[in-house]
Symmetry: C2
Subunit: 480 residues, 2 copies
């Protein structure tokens, strides 16, 4: 596999991304199904790792998984005013089935608030039925015009949570619990991707939400990527679908609902946070293969000795490390190194005849390419050394991404400064503008307010656009 199959980031960032998606066996554009991709083996394996970690957190916070139908009666989508406007233009419709035209078309779910709202209205009667804390893993479809593998595709895979509560405070607590303890924790601890926890502006919130919270990450080109959203839906869907309960004082009230989601776009975020010009870089906690062992030999005698040593080294690894021994014949070690580098395996172990004699191995870390990342270590104590190294890599990737974000974030006090800063990263600014002001800035600069960080300085300043005094800071950036 020649190295130059990957365009460098410096030369063409977008092409670099597409090259990695293709060469690391992550996905392939399914040109026969508009806007869709095939999730290939490495890509899907990363998604499975993500699912496992997210699912653990979703269950730890008291939620259960369920599964609602793929198809939603078209009329359901029309019941919540903002929701219609947001989703109706991009749905795919089933109009014929079993050889007959349908009286009412179905839409393929673009998201499931409506169909779930319908069932919640049947299931919820009393305050004793609350809260309802459900999540589902599924595919959804939004007929997107411009698509890019993982980041924006017509069909994507996701987790969508839908909960119902007795009070606004309970719904708000749920929304923030998911944001902090599921999404931000997963992004930072598992993806090694630092995120800003924030509130969306009115312009950017989910169609039908009272308030949308998000986690925003910075990609290596300085652009923002919304990595997860958690919505307090207020009573909007409860009113549209008549979801009511009898409270302890025997009064009938509408419930308060939330919804939240993360999707396979996280794979795109992962690529653009850590990968380099050699290929994919995976944080150890998400790597389907954490360690690859490459035996080196020139003849059968060497092969036998080396493979025996490899067997000894790896004997205790099952259940401790996710590893592969690459003993394919007819492929050179160099070819194998390149392939596993391309696929982002965090640690490579090389074992040759000299290592057999000396009781050593070579160990190479993916996050530090070339000679600098390679060292020779004794076979004794190797497992513990690898485990420690994986942890070091995990922390190192996070630290590097955080440093990158900090270096590409700047406070701006004037609109001109803002225009300059969004070319290189995040512009942090005081903001007291209107939704129309925000739209004007977007039209002029292609940057949007990514979020109002929940962590605010608490000091006052001057709005970057209106000159008004305010204590509210926001993050401007161009976004995926």
């Amino acid at each position: 596999m020649p190295k130059d199959v990957i365009t460098t980031r410096a030369k063409d960032y977008n092409q670099w991304y597409l090259d990695i998606v293709r060469e690391a066996d992550l996905a392939e554009v399914a040109e026969v199904v508009r806007g869709c991709i095939v999730f290939k083996a490495t890509g899907y394996a990363v998604w499975e790792m993500m699912q496992r970690e997210l699912d653990d957190r979703i269950k730890e916070t008291g939620h259960q998984n369920v599964y609602f139908p793929l198809l939603i009666p078209k009329s359901f989508i029309m019941k919540e005013a903002e929701h219609v406007e947001g989703f109706a233009p991009e749905v795919a419709e089933v109009t014929r089935a079993g050889g007959e035209e349908l009286a009412e078309p179905y839409v393929i779910r673009p998201t499931s608030e409506t169909i779930i709202g319908y069932f919640y209205s049947k299931w919820i009667r009393s305050y004793r039925d609350l809260p309802l804390l459900y999540n589902q893993w599924c595919n959804v479809m939004r007929w997107e015009m411009r698509t890019r593998p993982f980041l924006r595709t017509s069909e994507f895979l996701w987790s969508e949570g839908h909960t119902a509560h007795a009070t606004e405070a309970d719904a708000e607590a749920e929304t923030l619990n998911i944001l902090y303890n599921v999404y931000a924790d997963f992004a930072e601890q598992v993806m090694a991707m630092p995120v800003i926890r924030g509130l969306k502006t009115e312009n950017e919130k989910f169609p039908g939400a009272l308030r949308s919270y998000c986690i925003e990450a910075m990609m290596q080109d300085g652009r923002a990527l919304q990595a997860g959203t958690s919505h307090n839906l207020g009573q909007n869907f409860a009113k549209a679908f008549d979801i009511t309960f009898t409270d302890q004082a025997n009064t009938v009230q509408h419930v308060w609902t939330t919804s939240w989601g993360v999707s396979t776009r996280l794979i795109g975020a992962l690529i653009m946070t850590h990968s380099d010009d050699e290929g994919l870089v995976l944080p150890p906690r998400l790597a389907p293969t954490q360690v690859v062992v490459v035996p080196i030999y020139k003849n059968d005698a060497e092969r036998e000795k080396v493979l025996a040593t490899v067997a000894t080294i790896t004997a205790g690894w099952k259940g401790t490390l996710r590893f592969k021994v690459d003993n394919r014949d007819n492929l050179s070690p160099g070819f194998k190194y390149n392939e596993w580098e391309m696929k982002g395996v965090p640690v490579r172990i090389e074992v040759g005849p000299k290592d057999v004699e000396k009781g050593s191995v070579a160990i190479a870390r993916r996050d530090v390419p070339g000679r600098e990342g390679k060292s020779f270590v004794p076979q004794e104590g190797l497992t513990a050394r690898i485990l420690a190294l994986l942890e070091e890599i995990q922390q190192g990737l996070f630290a590097r991404a955080l440093r990158f974000r900090e270096e590409h974030t700047a406070d701006v006090t004037t609109y001109d400064e803002l225009k300059v800063q969004i070319e290189r990263g995040f512009a942090r600014a005081y903001w007291a503008g209107s939704p129309d002001d925000e739209k004007r800035i977007q039209d002029e600069t292609r940057a949007t307010i990514r979020c109002i960080p929940l962590d605010q300085p608490g000091t006052a300043g001057t709005c970057v656009y209106t000159g008004k005094e305010t204590t509210q800071q926001v993050i401007f950036a161009r976004a995926y």
Copy 2:
């Protein structure tokens, strides 16, 4: 929860099934989406347990997971002659998307041989690319006329494997490997459901297959349920989608493909294999909750003491047992017992004030209802005792189901005997009839040849219908 919410099997078997589906929180018919169900919390949790066990076996046998698009160009479905006939009448079609009529409609996948065949033809060039061993977990849709929760629904969830091989022998070995080492092993070891490994007749095989193998189980009403299928597709799809490779002699050949699948209908099979008139019965290896602990107390002082003991007992259980402590207030122990019995939890532990004093607990097994299944045991050594009991229950359920099948299977030598036997179970018969004979029997008796068991007696006998001498035995039964 009054016991009489479940109709007895003796009174109305079909209603009994529907009552369990509803009362055990397994599923709800989604009357607003034709033929679809909502997978509720217990039902989906059982599916997750099944997925985990199946996925481990699928990966152990060398397969990787991938994900192909939900939508398939309608023309693809038309490319393989038998496949068209089998699936075209029952597809759901997307004809409009993003507000516009589509030039070519898409169908929602009823199964993915065609779209996967298209990509395999792009991916496979040389014998070095073979075998391709992929599986996907996804939803599929078939517009069914008569539906029943889990057993037959328009949308269902499944795993579908799709592999490509260089030779017919390789494809056949794959087909049988899945049948024996994934499906039959899972059914018997995990579901505790004995199955017959067999070959389908021409009439019953998958549309487009060369040979279809299956595992068939007997439900408690004596009817058969096809629990999984594994198809040797020969070169049929390879020819329809032009999937070729260059072999070692540099000749271009069509590949040999297989496909295999198991679906959420397994949940229906599970219910109808083990459950009783009290509700769901789950084998321990698939029970999302294996043990429920019910504390018993009458006042705060007792409550405190009992819960302290419960905490001590369960202290080491995390990671060893899947358990729940049901400390809900305002619900009587009896109510809780009924609820957990209904939901099929294999073992219940009761702890009251007297148990605290005596260092004992009461232990009740779900597979043996009433007093007979209840005993009083010391707290000391409880964890080991429960683990042993779970294993005993697992084996016991399998043995009971096997005994039931044996008692409801009989050899028949005449058509009249066959007609009688299919009223009570499986009729095993020598068979040398034609596909037309088989259809005639189906029209007259509603029984079909469920399979030609792979385990054959090796002796000759007289065909039950034609009177011809043959060594082939088959199983006749009515089927779900």
